[in-house]
């Protein structure tokens, strides 16, 4: 079976200070079983041999869990395939002759480092503000000392599956990090272990989110649709509640 021929329009930007532009590449004989990133690997290999600079993009585990990869494909964060990170998107979802537009996450809190690579350290700083339970190693009581209702544990897990990829921010017309921040507030706030710091956590994380220059949430729901882990808007409602009622 012969592969697909595709045209790629890719954002190229040498560095943070470069203006950047869209560049066009042709890739031939793309197998439908390839992942999207493997398709870019093939292109990059060819670019290197030709002496051109390969397209820089972030990626690591390539199994949809590390959250490092992420690009806006045809205007949609991680592409149109639902619940799928870029690395797990496969070329069988494209057709021969397609033109694919590939851009970096766009948000002023995620400045472009190079090509499709952006700086997401703002997320780490939001976690630093309070996305944890303070428990130094060795100080924990027996794991069974506090039973956790299964429903709470399951709901906490659902929120905790966030991989911190930033697709929610990329998709949000307001550039808001609400879904990311809310997922952590929800995860920890649903567990008995997270109660002592629940108020301070919600306040500190929301305020850090603002300080990083993310926009506000207008409940458009774009974030939850592109979220590879399907984090629900419930998390944002919970964040709002916790924030407003925090002492």
């Amino acid at each position: 079976m012969s592969g697909m021929n595709l045209t790629l329009r890719v954002w190229r930007q040498k560095g943070p200070d470069d203006e950047g532009r869209m560049a066009t590449y042709k890739v031939e004989d793309v197998s439908p079983d390839m992942s999207f990133l493997e398709m870019l690997d093939v292109l990059n290999d060819r670019l290197i041999v030709a002496g051109d600079e390969p397209i820089a993009f972030d990626h690591d585990c390539r199994e949809g869990i590390c959250g490092m990869c992420g690009m806006v494909i045809n205007g949609v964060a991680h592409g149109e395939q639902r619940a799928t990170t870029t690395c797990q998107l496969h070329m069988r979802h494209f057709k021969d002759g397609d033109t694919i537009t590939i851009e970096p996450w766009r948000a002023s809190a995620f400045p472009v480092v190079k090509d499709l690579v952006v700086d997401r350290s703002a997320f780490d700083r939001i976690i630093q503000a309070g996305g944890f339970i303070s428990v130094p190693a060795g100080s924990a009581p027996d794991a069974h000392s506090v039973p956790v209702p299964k429903d709470s544990a399951d709901a906490a897990f659902d929120a905790a599956t966030c991989i911190g990829c930033g697709a929610c921010v990329a998709a949000c017309p307001n550039g808001s990090a609400s879904l990311f921040t809310a997922a952590k507030i929800t995860h920890l706030g649903l567990l008995p272990q997270g109660q002592p710091e629940r108020d301070s956590r919600a306040k500190a994380m929301v305020e850090q989110m603002d300080a990083e220059g993310f926009g506000g949430c207008t409940n458009t729901g774009e974030c939850t649709v592109v979220c590879p882990k399907g984090i629900s808007l419930d998390a944002i409602a919970r964040m709002n509640r916790d924030y407003l009622s925090a002492k």
Binding site: V49, C66, Q88, V117, Q128, Q193
Partner: protein
């Protein structure tokens, strides 16, 4: 490739006496650092996975000045995050006969008697604390309706001691460690450098005193000095190019430390995981693991007929060979990884493999769906099934999954003593980067346990003991720093100067193929000698023809990869040499020459009950130091899972 045999090496740190008292004894004898002094002491931690992340956080909590590095854009992305199945702990919450001793026993036996009893016992002891710690941090483990923790039995264990968080246990545990780390960053005890890669170790006056790192955004070569250096940089499975490791996983940190004098323990011990999604084509960049927990309910089979090309559903029951159940009636589909992997290879070698190229076997859930119902199966494995479908485009509810073994974990790594200290004083190695605890084969759900045991509980004690003597450390000699920096710059310049016509990836792929074919699931003297011819030739070609675009002074992924591949070449040779010298079969290391009549691995305890610790020798002939292994508690027996 030649080698010489040097002086035997000994683990001088493990206390004597009953095995259950040794860790207590060691903790008590460890010297303490006074809190005021801790603030003045610097510790560098390379890597932010379960081991490195938990170590950096804990050292920060204790009051040390910690500097942490990772090559990813955030410490949360380390590849521990991809571990699916679970984490073992001897909690015996089920009352099913588990105990610290049983976990210890299973791990020593599972490691095919090539690990240290003292280390493994400590691991089993500490496992209990890990679960407590993780739960307190808010790790959302699976729970029963009563609110208590759920467990399952996992890869080769007959008790239910594996704690899990759906199929994302590694993610949840790593996020726990990451959050603890971020808390310390906010508190100012840990300074985090993301997108930084360690390229060399600074050794001064015989002690590890710092690292040379490259800022992967600017290309700047930076020197960071400290009183102790901790490597938690993970395993080197990517030497095979195709593995379940993340693309960025590499050997550079430990390899550079090895070249600076740290011995490399058992480099040939590689774990091949039996349940991965098979390769689909030449362009394949990595392999994806399907959690081994699938084997709890899935049945592994191939057609009885060679070259049977019928779709699975058309093959009647009596023409299927459920080979694991047939060969190993008492463990069936749950035999340890090494055994399951090799059995799959054997049936494929017989021409009975399924899927493209005949490199696959079926993992069938039809029975489980009939027995438990589709909903129950979906609840247990839903996310894994979805992942499989995303990658292969096939629906595992309707047709069996195809799986094939893939490189997954390296039991080998830098040699460390009971204190997790390498042969370079002040250089500690934890997690997958060291060689300890798993012997020749790691049991499922034990990697998370080891990484966190090292980081949260063992290292913070033993580093303190070392640092208590820091008063006698001298100043770091400038010439030692300059020499390391020159080395690093020199290598980068050489890579950029070649300007050949092949990408680093293409060499890496070729190297990986050599390793898989000749130093993979089954090794022989002939195959290893062949590899030892091919690798140096390819390495020579690499240095002649590699093409690295761009410059050092920018984000340059081509340069990063080329540097890593160059180190993989050197490591690959040592792996083959180690595999060649160990003429026995044990655990993940299977020598065709050493098998029982039934084709099982045959150990040679008389000649090989030792750890092979290799010393780097600049003239190219490594020196082998043997650490004899003694078993006082677990009697050495031939493993049998029949």
């Amino acid at each position: 490739m030649k080698y010489t045999v040097g002086e035997p090496i000994q683990d001088t740190k493990a206390p004597e006496g009953p095995v259950e008292d040794r860790w207590d004894k060691r903790r008590f004898s460890a010297k303490l650092v006074n809190p005021a002094n801790k603030r003045k002491l610097r510790v560098i931690v390379i890597g932010t996975g379960l081991a490195g992340g938990s170590a950096a956080a804990t050292l920060g909590e204790l009051g040390y000045q910690v500097t942490s590095f990772c090559y990813q854009d955030s410490p949360r992305r380390a590849h521990s995050i991809a571990a699916q199945g679970g984490i073992n702990a001897a909690k015996n919450y089920r009352g099913d006969g588990d105990s610290i001793y049983r976990l210890f026993y299973d791990t020593v036996k599972g490691g095919d008697f090539r690990s240290r009893e003292s280390n493994v016992y400590r691991l089993a002891q500490v496992s209990v604390n890990i679960i407590d710690q993780a739960v307190a941090q808010g790790v959302p483990f699976a729970r029963e309706y009563g609110g208590l923790l759920d467990t399952r039995s996992f890869g080769g264990a007959q008790v239910s001691r594996t704690f899990y968080a759906r199929g994302q246990t590694g993610q949840q545990l790593l996020l726990g460690a990451y959050q603890a780390l971020e808390r310390q960053i906010a508190a100012g005890t840990v300074t985090m450098h993301t997108r930084h890669e360690m390229l060399d170790l600074v050794v001064s006056d015989g002690r590890a005193r710092g690292v040379i790192v490259r800022d992967m955004v600017t290309g700047e070569i930076e020197t960071h000095l400290a009183d102790a250096v901790v490597l938690a940089s993970g395993g080197y499975g990517n030497v095979f190019f195709l593995s379940t490791n993340a693309k960025g996983c590499n050997t550079t940190a430990i390899w550079r430390a090895h070249r600076r004098g740290a011995y490399f323990g058992n480099p040939c011990y590689t774990q091949i995981h039996p349940t991965c999604i098979p390769v689909s084509g030449e362009y394949q960049s990595k392999l994806t693991l399907m959690s081994e927990s699938l084997r709890n309910d899935g049945r592994v089979w191939v057609p009885k007929l060679k070259g049977d090309s019928r779709p699975a559903s058309d093959i009647p029951e009596d023409e299927r060979d459920y080979y694991l159940e047939r060969i190993y009636p008492s463990f069936g589909n749950l035999v340890p990884r090494d055994i399951a992997s090799r059995a799959a290879k054997n049936v494929c070698d017989e021409g009975r493999g399924v899927g493209p190229g005949g490199l696959g076997v079926y993992l069938d859930f039809a029975d489980a769906i009939r027995r438990l119902g589709r909903d129950a199966v979906e609840k247990k494995y839903g996310n894994l099934f979805e992942m499989y479908e995303r990658i292969t485009g096939e629906n595992p509810y309707d047709q069996p999954m195809r799986i094939y073994p893939a490189v997954h974990y390296t039991m080998g790594g830098l040699w460390v003593d009971y204190d997790l200290q390498s042969t370079i004083p002040g250089l500690f190695v934890i997690g997958e980067a060291n060689f300890s605890d798993h012997g020749a084969n790691r049991l499922g759900a034990s990697a998370l346990m080891q990484g966190l045991a090292d980081g949260y509980f063992v290292l913070p004690t033993t580093v303190g003991d070392y640092l208590a003597g820091s008063g006698s450390f001298g100043e770091v000699a400038q010439e030692d720093v300059d020499e390391a920096v020159d080395q690093v710059r020199g290598k980068i310049q050489r890579l950029l100067a070649v300007q050949g016509d092949r990408s680093a990836d293409s060499f890496h792929r070729e190297l990986g193929k050599i390793m898989w074919d000749y130093c993979g699931m089954e090794r022989s003297e002939e195959s290893l000698r062949k590899a030892l011819e091919l690798i140096p030739a390819l390495r020579e070609e690499f240095w002649r023809r590699v093409k690295v675009t761009g410059t050092n002074e920018e984000l340059n992924q081509a340069l990063e990869r080329a540097g890593r591949v160059a180190d993989f070449f050197e490591l690959a040779e040592l792996m083959c040499l180690d595999a060649l010298h160990r003429t026995e079969s044990c655990g993940g290391h299977f020598r065709a020459e050493s098998q029982t009549e039934e084709g099982e691995a045959l150990r040679d305890d008389e000649n090989f009950a030792y750890v092979a610790a290799w010393e780097w020798n600049p003239d190219g002939t490594p020196v082998l130091h043997k650490e004899e292994l003694e078993y006082e508690y677990v009697k050495m027996t031939q493993r049998s899972y029949k």
